[in-house]
Amino acid sequence: MAKKTVGIKRQRTIRMTLSYLLLLVVCVAIIYPLVWTVGASFNPGNSLVSTSIIPDKPTMSHYSDLFAQDGKLFYGKWYINSMKISILTMVLSMLCVSFTAYAFSRFRFKGRKNGLLLFLLLQMIPQFSALIAIFVLAQMLGLINSHWLLILIYVGGQIPMNTYLMKGYIDSIPLDLDESAKIDGASNTRIFWRILMPLSRPMLAVVAMNGFTAPLGDFAISSVILRNPEYYTLPIGLYKLVSDKMGASYTTFAAGAILISIPVAIVFVSLQKHFVSGLTAGGTKG
């Protein structure tokens, strides 16, 4: 018996050592590219040939270049554009999605089943595969470079999938709560705002996250609509910065990447626990 516990103990030590080693390797693999970017952003020069993680002569010049506004580089504008588009998309899609999900979850009306089926199908087709149509629409309406058109398209794209998630979450809130409020004389809208919305906070957080990150990461649709550099969002702007054959500047790009990644990552990690419970509930329920 004693021999067996020793065996188990040794096995456990081996397992733990391997686990720590593995996690160490993974952590390095995760952190290396991030640290490398930080290093690159302080390196002098434009190319990465002589880049090292700890530069010999660190320089802040790339950060000041970003805001110098010379030539085609409008980093400050791109930043504001991206934030504006992301935040408005987030707020509008939260409103649209939660009202629609409330209707689908709590009311039985004509067209409900067809509506749900339509949403299920629409969420499977990638929105930007209809790029040509979006381009023609923008041209016809004279809305090339329009941020509002872009926001409305994003919100439309957010609706099907998120409504599904939200409806599933509201379905899991007991109907008794609504009914007792109704007996007390609460209107539908009041029930929605005062009872259902506070209770579905985890899923609202998921919808908010989707609404914020989708526009921030989109390249395809925004590159079709936004044609002039001063209207660009960060993905297009930064992509043009590294893909420009004449004056690609990885170091300036790295500085720009740091300035967007750090705030987003901090907000993300600190709010993580709010939307993780929503994700697990929505995702695993299906």
Partner: protein
Amino acid sequence: MSFSTNPIQKHSNPVQKDRSYAKKAAILSIIPGFGQFYNKQRGKGVLFFIFSIAFIVVFKDLFNMGLWGIVTLGEQVPRDNSIFLLAEGIISLIVIIFGLLFYYLNIKDAYHNGKKREEGFEISSIKEQYQVLLHEGYPYLITSPAFILLVFSVIFPILFCFALAFTNYDLYHSAPANLVDWVGLETFKKIFTVDIWRSTFFDVLGWTLVWTLIASTLQVSIGIFLAVVVHQKELRFKKFFRTILVLPWAVPGFVTILVFAGMFNDSFGAINNSILAFFGIDGIPWLTSSNWTRLALLLIQGWLGFPYVFIVTTGVLQSISDDLYEAATIDGASPLQKFKNITLPLILYSMAPIIITQYTFNFNNFNIIYLFNAGGPAVPSSTAGGTDILVSWIYKLTMQNSQYALAAALTILLSIFVISIALWQFRRTSSFKEVK
């Protein structure tokens, strides 16, 4: 008819002997509002009538132009722009459908109220109507903003794309010099018969499938595996490890992809110059050889995609009761057996929907393919690069090669493919059953 014996009839209005109110009202409302007038709902009748006149007046030109345009796609250059005409045509079709819906509701309303009168009920006044509308219309009211937005930002583009696939719209058939024509299934036929198109199509489709399968399976297995490793009871610094492991998800994806594009650069990237050089390995042509680019893409997607699976799996693991493991330990199960027989089945079972979405996500994962190496390296005499998947090929055909009709036809094929696979999978999950 049974309602003649209905007691409610007794306190109805004097014209009760004429019992065909419903039909008459319905027939009269062929001109919207007249049926309502007949039913003595004057306010409503006037409202309906004015609304339909306004509808016709406002949209008259659109209908005229749009319907003519969608049939002919324009007759004269440079006066007519076929593509704008097509778009107008589709918009007018959407508006007409809404109009017909209103028209149908108008007739139904007249019939309904006529029937009520036959049965001797009082017709509700406009104020009561308003109350009823507010009550029954509530779900419609709160879904309408989302619905209208959906029609113009999602459904219209899809319909437009669908229509475009049956035309010959490309660089040589575009405004202002030329017109576009309807060509039926010609474009679809070409995809499978013109040699260069067919070989490109099947190359791209093949890589899309391989990419989807490997990348998704890789990220799902890394995520699950790491979640299990971190979840071990004896492991310390759990919080620290979990924070580090979600970082790839926390940093905006387009940033990381562009960073990797720099790191994998053949001549000055850190992978070749620092890491491989450190091990004494020669530089690898990451961005100029298709197969190496593919490998790099798979590695990067594994890096980017695992945290999401990791987080959800951690949630599932925390909800598995300890009793199961204790019972297994008493039965003498080894850790590996416990993993295989308890943990893995539970994870796979409760995460099936999330795992499926990983596959559909990668099937359409435009960003990583395009931002990393623009689908390249370029392949001679082909519109698709060596690592293009269907969606990035469609993007290039639209934005660079002006092969609009081909892009639209491919979009349709892609949508049919995705929808049929997804439906087949979703049929088994609860979300679909709920719809049924």
